[in-house]
Assembly symmetry: C2
DNA sequence: TGATAATTTGTACATCTGTACAAAAGAAAA
DNA sequence: TTTTCTTTTGTACAGATGTACAAATTATCA
């Protein structure tokens, strides 16, 4: 090793940080080099191209993150109580996205934010990779949820998993909004609270009746009820 | 008016379309001009700069969209039944984001997608505007929800409104994911269904108990209480 | 009509972009 | 030490970018 024994890592970390906040196209190789204290030429030496650098970031994180997810999912599926199991499953999905088990600089939150930004930009390099690598894991989660909520069609669970991922992404992309709207009552950057809030909200949304579900016999007095009792109390048999 | 009586509109529409799919920095003025069938110089003539063009897009949509939202919110607040009212409130928030009332080319969905992308990129031009213009509307919604769910702290409602917006954004940013994961069972681009699914899931999540709520007395027979420990293990003092 | 204003066009320019590549510097092994 | 390999540096280049601006074109109106 030469001068900076971690130059490669420094570049990766700088790129991750800049990409995840400004997007891919807004960040130049020179920006990254400056942030990492490296020479621009050194970036192409280590990663061949800007795309190669982005790809390397994904390779670095995807494996550990999804591995951790599956580990937690396996444990979650063994939980007896349905309610607790559902919560454990959602937590298994959410938690590694906020802080990956591996101690890669910055943790999983930054990488998840990066994924959110790349997704929004419709990044071509990443498009295929994402679908291929993440869909397997996502499917495992949907199946697990399917087993805990067998009365719901898969279609509905997919929609709700979409909402979960969106909520997850946006929480990392724009945490200031939570702080602002709550007038300081909440801290949007508090990852621990974000996880708890997201898990509890998601568990409830997963348990909502299907939008096409027939309403079982219920003593309805009013005439209104245009959409059926869409809420959570209809959960009670 | 000159050759193309709608050249200004054509440029706006083209820019909106390109920005909302590729992001701000990935799209050049020349790209926009090409898409609009205009000369690059014409873009700077009408909008002064690239930033000015983006700003004009916001000016064009923000007003009508939030106006429609507030209209629907006012109506929603008059709904008697709590459950129905909550649903109407959420729908009042969601629906205009998918299709604005005004018939501006492309409807509200494209603009909402644009907002999602700009938010992810941390676009500086837009940052302030968003907070100033949208926070008022959002606060009106949070207050309305607060009145329907008085037992929940505002903080929790802010978190859940964050999740709603994230879910909304991501549904527009990456609809293909729904189609793919559902194996064709669902169409992620079906806006009508997206709205229904999002509304029903959100209403349920809003009604979830607060993560810090004490569990009221409930005849618990089993070891695992149904809803009680749903929050986190760390919650109990 | 002619005169004036509004729009479109084409060109130009300074700057930034990703990347290539040779030279320099350093580390490792003989 | 010398030799060999790895890494860093500096420079260069072709292309793209945002924007300015004068000329050409078209519309508006007296």
């Amino acid at each position: 090793m030469t001068r900076n024994p971690n130059m490669r890592e420094a570049i990766l970390s700088a790129a991750e940080s800049l990409f995840s906040t400004r997007g891919f196209n807004a960040v130049s190789i020179r920006d990254i080099a400056l942030e990492a204290g490296a020479n621009p030429g050194s970036v192409t030496y280590h990663f061949k191209s800007k795309d190669g650098l982005l790809l390397e970031i994904y390779k670095r994180h995807c494996g550990p993150m999804n591995k951790r997810r599956i580990e937690l999912l396996v444990a979650a599926r063994r939980v007896r109580d349905v309610q607790d199991r559902l919560e454990a499953i959602v937590r298994a999905y959410v938690q590694p996205a906020f802080s990956s088990s591996s101690d890669l600089a910055g943790g999983g939150a930054r990488f998840t934010r990066l994924r959110a930004v790349m997704s929004a930009e419709g990044n071509a390099v990443v498009g295929r990779i994402i679908a291929e690598i993440f869909d397997d894991t996502t499917n495992a989660f949907i199946e697990a949820i399917e087993q805990s909520l067998p009365h719901l069609p898969r279609k509905t669970l997919v929609w709700r998993s979409q909402f979960l991922l969106g909520a997850l992404y946006y929480t990392l992309v724009n945490p200031e909004r939570v702080t602002r709207l709550s007038r300081g009552e909440a801290d949007g950057a508090d990852m621990a609270e974000a996880i708890e809030q997201l898990v509890s909200a998601t568990v409830a949304s997963l348990q909502a009746p299907d939008i096409n579900a027939q309403v079982a016999a219920e003593p309805v007095a009013k005439a209104g009820a245009r959409k059926a009792p869409a809420g959570s109390r209809s959960r009670i048999p």
